[in-house]
């Protein structure tokens, strides 16, 4: 359907105004909300992720694409709720205790949202206890932890440990990322998923959820 193709393209181009116009048009034409979400917004952000991973897009292009996607999603959301369309899953995300860097965490959150997840952003400097409380409150499928520094990275291990102590470890998957974080570190601390960037964080989380279904 060309309107959804155009919508998808407007997201990829980061053209927020056009995304909003096309979303209104799609809604006026009574296209199914789930189809608009998947073919327009999620497909658009998946392409943004692909372009980021292969080095065609960088942070600015990702930011304006996510902004366009979000503006479209805001218009679409009431229709998704009315049609009882559920999110792909829920993610609680934050930057770990002692670390105030938020850009990487924000990009991961945006890409997860663009992949169809509901994202609960706890912010920065989040203690292991706060992650545990958020898991109890929001019952997410994933806990996502970000750290930029070697000095704060060890807090990720504390999150995994405390989730275990609280008896919640089997209920959530822990995904981690940030400049000093590696696949090996994720394995060492017992995290479920490491990804090197925001785009692969979204696509890998999507794969894991689809595999479980």
């Amino acid at each position: 359907m060309s309107i959804l193709n155009d919508l998808r393209k407007s997201v990829i181009d980061g053209d927020m105004v056009l995304t909003q116009e096309l979303m209104q048009k799609a809604l006026l034409e009574s296209l199914p909300p789930e189809q608009i979400l998947k073919e327009g917004l999620i497909n658009g952000m998946a392409e943004v992720g692909r372009m980021f991973e292969c080095g065609e897009y960088f942070v600015p292009e990702m930011l304006i694409a996510a902004r366009a996607m979000k503006s479209g999603l805001t218009l679409l959301r009431p229709h998704l709720i009315k049609a009882n369309i559920q999110a792909l899953g829920k993610v609680v995300i934050g930057t770990v205790q002692g670390d105030l860097h938020d850009l990487g965490k924000n990009l991961v959150g945006m890409m997860l949202e663009g992949a169809g997840f509901e994202v609960v952003d706890l912010g920065v400097d989040i203690s292991p206890q706060k992650y545990v409380e958020a898991v109890k409150e929001h019952r997410p499928d994933f806990v996502a932890c970000s750290a930029l520094l070697t000095t704060t990275m060890p807090r990720m291990k504390d999150v995994v440990l405390l989730l275990g102590e609280a008896g919640l470890r089997d209920q959530v998957k822990v995904m981690i990322g940030g400049a000093p974080v590696t696949e090996k570190y994720a394995a060492d601390i017992g995290a479920d998923l490491y990804t090197p960037d925001a785009a692969s964080a979204a696509s890998r989380a999507q794969e894991l959820v689809n595999k479980q279904r």
Binding site: G14, G55, Y57, F58, V59, P60, E61, L63, I64, R67, G98, D99, L100, H101, L103, N106, D125, L149, T150, T151, A179, P180, P196, D197
Partner: protein
């Protein structure tokens, strides 16, 4: 031969009698070293070959509650990062400079200590530091996400902002050139763990021409240009050499192939840095640190290299690991401290 002459040899592409060095440490790491070397002052114990002048991060007013304000009006939260801090709030909430005045580039605090420090450490190679020298100054004023989107939303504003920052820096360079300095050491992080934050196209369109103006001001005074820029930025080296860059730091081994780059750019670009601060220094053993240091010294034997950890060493690095590289550097054949 003085430390200053050794660094000059390296910058001229000649083979030095040993690999020179200049380290950086955060406050926490410095505290460990200070108690180890006490009563000798750290600056005297380490025998850095670069004499750092001016200020890399600028001057701050205490606001209380772990908050400080820089001369540009930016408030920094130092409750966690005690050395630099994290920006709080936004000095330029709108994409305009209409309601903003830049500080005085000739603020005497940037220049007052130059003469005294040159008198005390005259054997060392003198670098006047200008930190946050372009993109970083822009995002600390405007907010990083705002600025990254401004490249597309308000390109004229970004050009104006970057050029105004460059004018401020060039005024500082011209003042610094009145002293007997050897180089200007700019700082400006453009990279991520993989690739550039803003990508090569926006970097070339917006940042590169302005860097060219700043570097030209230094070369016009007959001095060398150094840049510190974190992350995976080696794709820019040829462009940077094209506008007169002489030395690149931090040369992070986690994001670039340090051995291949030293060889490829020998005679064209000097590297300062190279020792892993993301892996080896915090997580490796003393022997790991020694082995990596020895590898770097072997790579730098023919010149083109100034040793350093690839970032200011953080507080999570054991004292023994810091001493491991300091001792190897200072015990090189051919090096004898004359201070």
């Amino acid at each position: 031969m003085t430390e200053r002459e050794v660094i000059k040899m390296v910058l001229e592409g000649r083979k030095p009698s040993y690999v020179p060095w200049s380290f950086g440490f955060t406050k926490e790491a410095k505290a460990k070293l200070r108690s180890h070397f006490s009563p000798v002052e750290l600056e005297d114990a380490l025998h850095d070959h670069l004499l750092k002048l001016g200020s890399d991060i600028g001057f701050f007013t205490e606001l209380g509650n772990n908050r400080v304000q820089d001369v540009f009006g930016v408030v920094w939260d130092r409750s966690i990062d005690k050395d630099i801090g994290n920006v709080e709030g936004c000095v330029l909430p709108e994409p305009t400079l209409k309601h903003y005045s830049f500080p005085d580039p000739l603020d005497r605090r940037f220049f007052d200590d130059i003469t005294g420090r040159i008198a005390r450490y005259g054997n060392r190679f003198r670098v006047f530091q200008i930190g946050f020298s372009l993109y970083e100054r822009a995002w600390t004023l405007r907010g990083m996400q705002n600025l990254l989107m401004d490249f597309y939303d308000y390109p004229e504003f970004v050009h104006e902002l970057l050029n105004t920052i460059a004018d401020y820096n060039i005024a500082q360079v011209q003042e610094a050139l009145k002293y007997d300095i050897d180089a200007v050491y700019f700082g400006d992080d453009w990279g991520q763990q993989r690739g550039l934050q803003m990508g090569p196209k926006l970097w070339r369109d917006f940042i590169y021409p302005v860097l060219g103006r700043m570097y030209a001001a230094v070369h016009k005074g007959g001095k060398y240009v150094f840049i510190h820029s974190c992350g995976d930025v080696d794709e820019l080296f040829d462009d940077l050499i094209g506008i007169g860059l002489d030395c690149f730091n931090p040369f992070q081994p986690e994001v670039m192939d340090v051995a291949a780059l030293i060889q490829r750019y020998h005679g064209r670009l000097v590297f300062h840095g190279g020792l892993s601060t993301q892996k080896t220094l915090p997580n490796g053993s003393v022997e790991d640190v020694r082995a990596e240091t020895r590898r770097l010294l072997a790579l730098g034997r023919e010149g083109g290299y100034i040793f350093a950890p690839a970032h200011d060493v953080e507080g999570d690095v054991p004292l023994e690991n810091m001493l491991a590289f300091v001792e190897l550097l200072q015990s090189q054949p051919g090096y004898r401290n004359k201070e």
